[in-house]
Symmetry: none
Subunit: 233 residues, 4 copies
Amino acid sequence: MLLRNRAWREHVASDMLINGIMDKDKQTRKKLLDSAKREFTEKGYMKASLRSICRDAGLTTGAIYFFFKDKEELFQSVVGEALLALDKAIGTHFGEEEDFSGDVNSITPEDLQDDFKAALEILSVLYRYRDEFLLVMEKASGSGYENMIDRYVEYIYEHYLGLYCRMKGYGSRKKLTAEDRFIVHWMSHDQIEIFIHLLTHCGSEKEAAKQMKNMFNYMVGGWIATMKKAIIS
Amino acid sequence: MLLRNRAWREHVASDMLINGIMDKDKQTRKKLLDSAKREFTEKGYMKASLRSICRDAGLTTGAIYFFFKDKEELFQSVVGEALLALDKAIGTHFGEEEDFSGDVNSITPEDLQDDFKAALEILSVLYRYRDEFLLVMEKASGSGYENMIDRYVEYIYEHYLGLYCRMKGYGSRKKLTAEDRFIVHWMSHDQIEIFIHLLTHCGSEKEAAKQMKNMFNYMVGGWIATMKKAIIS
Amino acid sequence: MLLRNRAWREHVASDMLINGIMDKDKQTRKKLLDSAKREFTEKGYMKASLRSICRDAGLTTGAIYFFFKDKEELFQSVVGEALLALDKAIGTHFGEEEDFSGDVNSITPEDLQDDFKAALEILSVLYRYRDEFLLVMEKASGSGYENMIDRYVEYIYEHYLGLYCRMKGYGSRKKLTAEDRFIVHWMSHDQIEIFIHLLTHCGSEKEAAKQMKNMFNYMVGGWIATMKKAIIS
Amino acid sequence: MLLRNRAWREHVASDMLINGIMDKDKQTRKKLLDSAKREFTEKGYMKASLRSICRDAGLTTGAIYFFFKDKEELFQSVVGEALLALDKAIGTHFGEEEDFSGDVNSITPEDLQDDFKAALEILSVLYRYRDEFLLVMEKASGSGYENMIDRYVEYIYEHYLGLYCRMKGYGSRKKLTAEDRFIVHWMSHDQIEIFIHLLTHCGSEKEAAKQMKNMFNYMVGGWIATMKKAIIS
DNA sequence: GATGAATGAGTGTTCATTCAT
DNA sequence: AATGAATGAACACTCATTCAT
């Protein structure tokens, strides 16, 4: 799992529960979160003013501190659910190394297409919480989520490293050179950038799914070229 | 030209002149800029403290305001020369639409390789001002340079749009669909990301040039796939 | 009586009653007082947080206000019983001017030793409520008990003034000079300091009683010297 | 030396220099210190408000932070000079163990009288900075000077331990029992309390010096009794 | 050219207290 | 009897900026 630790996940999960069950009076909290989302989105984490958030929510200064420990936890509460969902989705599709033991030569670049389906599901999560992810990706500077992108890259990097090895017929990762690792890292990075690019440039999931096709086509082409070159040179 | 306006460019250019000619007591300015670079790099634009910069430069608080209008202009002055150099380099290689009028079919993906040489020269500029570019790319949040990346993307996008048209045999850009534009935009973005990735992950220009080869191979593969698919589907 | 007024004493007394009789659900109050004692001891009156006390007691913020008017009264309730007990003990031993009318010359410094027994009993009270007294003596800054020590000094001062007069053969207090009063005041102060010193430095009553012997010896020596000097000079 | 460290002492010393030499414009700092002294004296360290201090000094909120790092340093600057002076005085009179090597029996309680002269000089320092010492002794709760008294006790305790040993004819401190140490610690404490008592109860140094005579007489009587008892029992 | 003082609005945060339920 | 929400004033502290000298 990518996200911090179990305690944190449960914390966020309990948030979701609370929000789900007690519809009656927890509207203040909701209002606060809405205002916070708006403010963070407008000004970014650092420039966002808690006063301004409270005002916008029709509350007084200290109100936030009944529900949230501090600014950081408020931000966390805004994006937590989204991150948890993404965490789960990524964990499902990129987490476990597929138990592969067939003929090495039978692996074709088309295997990459499997990722496409996974990517579609991830895309679905991303659009379910679009605002929140845009927040994390572009407005989190100064918060504890500043480098979330890198963390995701690092996570799927492991996955792609395995895929790369199998495509090259490496039995062990020990055969990987620094150059191998660099290009795989880049391709992992690129995969994440695809998601971000879609999220920022496509207004709907549907539109994003359509464009992602071409982007994947591009990406697969890149992988093929990378493999060929490796074989040739 | 990419950068704001002529007035600004001249402002920056005169900076360079000043620094070059009057060696005597403009060293205070230099000291200030050095300290500013250090502080911005350490803490990022927003968290950087002018007090701290002055202290580090062995000056008092108000000193900055003799040389710079405000915090923003100080940052600008730190990164200005670098941006100007990059602007020039990009202008040279991506700026002018090549006067192409040959046989459409003669265009091969290998044309992309021309970009490689251009990219190497840009890489050279990037590493000449590595600190400054890292500043702009990763620490400018809150300043006027927050979205510099997008501006560069937008700029080379025009270039790649032309290339794409010629590779597809389009006589006019009017034939481009929204889908065409989207993928070209992405590929432009990707090109910029390659530079940033190199700058952040390679300690020397030499190392970066080496890794860029594989990244370009990947990119060209992507272009080929994009072209093919376009033909097929 | 030393403590404020009758109303207050009855208030505290009724507290004791309540705690004694209704064992059933007044345990909440008890829990609150325990947590308060802990918090006050840890952080001192001012830095103590009512929130924190409630949390520690497993209750919510407002709960305190059912039992106590405000922070001050809570503190009062924590230390009240102890103060009342001490008030009683001091009243018994230092309160009433002994009905003395014998031969003036028969008074010897050994009369001071009578105080020793009284002091032992007071010590017993102090150790019965050791936590509470340490609270009052060292952690009450900011509360209404800040200068409790001075009040005790003032109280026993009257007692020692009488003793001093008799030892000097004064028939009336009118003979006392400002200098007389000053030294008696100091010696009263010193007596109180002895108690505090013991309470803070000895872990058990037994240990304190042992050390008090030497301290009294020191004190009696001081009284003798004071008397002699008064006679001589 | 009692006070923290050399760096700190030099810091305070330079303060004194600044205040002494530059009479011209440093009046703002002086005003701030005056207002601070007043505020701290009135409300104590914790309840003192920096806002209030600035207001009283005719300045705006942030002004303090030009001269002082934070609340703590402001307090330090108010009392620092006084503490330094006291440190010096105490160091002179209680710091060095007198190089005693005469006949043990020749030591009489009158040796204690030597302390009297020392005490008079210390008293002089205390009254030179009376406000400041009252601040430290009674209003420092919450600041870094909360337990200054104990520190002074600990310091002179060493001195009195030596004196006690010589009066008892001990060649080495190893002969001291826990009970010995306890009573000497108490007597050291008492010595300090004498100073505080004078400072709080006498309006002038002259008056204090007069009353101290009797208090010393009392103290010497205590020492004699302590010594005798030790010999007898 | 540069200093050093001062501004003043702003920040996140704390907390005793209140009160409808 | 106790909850949980909300208040609102206060706090220490930061900082870009200004300006007389």
